[in-house]
Symmetry: C2
Subunit: 193 residues, 2 copies
DNA sequence: CCTATTTTAGAACAATCGTTATAAAATATG
DNA sequence: CATATTTTATAACGATTGTTCTAAAATAGG
């Protein structure tokens, strides 16, 4: 019953996400969001709560639509290839983006206010999911001998997560093809037995 | 001639730096800075210009006092050991800090507004200096056979820079001993011939 | 001692911030 | 058709933002 909504939730989150992604939480004003989503302030508050809540939902939306399927696509590949594809995918995305936004999840890691424990926990949890994803691939690769086993899969996954984070940070301030490619080039040496 | 200053420039920059480091540019208000530096708003503007200018000077101060000598201390060591000491130093600092501030330079990389080309350039330049520092060590290590030479020193330096950046990002949201140690543990395998 | 010059002090500025109050518009149900 | 309920629209709110204005305080040079 009652008056129907004039927008689609996902479309609005896509628009809001883009701004938060490019500018961060503080630098994005509510009026920015009103303009880029096309709907009014009252509607935004009514549908998504306050600014912080909208940020959280945008971040969840980003992870769900932007990362989950990208990870799923790699799970079907042979382990060594899965890692290679995953990172070359990150590389391509980083270099193709004319705005050099990097990764919203990584950006969020530094955007979190020091006192907002809940949001930091959410970011940490998503990073843990990526780490687990990498771990599963490496463990499988070590089992079938396609990935070197001189190091524990646990530590290798940690290292890859670190490289991923660094890659995305540098993609923002130094989006240079040679630099980013150099970072991942070393991974082949690192992974092959 | 004229009235003398009642503060030391370096002391003020130390205090300002600490706030910017912990909270970032946007989340640090001018009134925050007035309170933590102990001097008045007019004095801050008179001595350091506007907020952005103060941020730049704080960042330069951080790099000059916090990083330069740390890098210089490594230059005297044998190459393989220099890298090890450098990263274990970063590790220790990351874990010891109860505030988990990470590295101000890396934080700045994501803190830079998309339109502030000059500040981004300054951050990029400082990152390049670190890359050169790492390159010099690796090249020396490859020359004397203490560091593996299957990869170019250029790409290895890039990789290390990436790891460093990732380490510092994760230190903020996931300051877990095992995680950060796992990231650098892999480096020994990566470096030894 | 007087004047020039700089720094300090604290209030005040307009602008923008996130958020909410009020009322009109639009549908579902009775 | 009337009522209940939700969404929309617009304006306004107080608070906080970065910055500046005015005037007092403090020194150096003549």
């Amino acid at each position: 019953m009652a008056r129907p909504r004039e927008f689609e939730e996902d479309t609005v989150l896509d628009a809001a996400l883009e701004r938060f992604w490019a500018q961060g939480f503080d630098a994005t004003s509510m009026r920015d969001l009103i303009e880029c989503t096309g709907l009014t302030g009252a509607s935004l508050y009514n549908a998504f709560g306050d600014k912080r809540s909208l940020y959280r939902k945008s971040l969840d939306h980003y992870v769900q639509r932007g990362m989950r399927d990208r990870m799923a696509r790699c799970r079907d590949l042979p382990p060594a290839q899965a890692i290679a594809v995953f990172f070359s995918d990150v590389l391509r995305r980083s270099l193709e983006d004319p705005q050099h936004k990097g990764c919203m999840l990584i950006n969020a890691a530094l955007d979190v206010p020091p006192d907002d424990a809940e949001l930091r926990q959410a970011v940490a949890e998503n990073l843990r999911a990526i780490e687990s994803f990498l771990y599963a691939i490496i463990a499988a690769g070590q089992a079938d001998g396609t990935i070197r086993a001189t190091l524990s899969a646990t530590d290798m996954a940690r290292h890859l997560l670190g490289v991923l984070a660094g890659l995305r940070v540098l993609a923002r301030v130094r989006p240079e093809k040679e630099l980013l490619e150099g970072i991942v080039a070393s991974l082949q040496d690192f992974l092959t037995p």
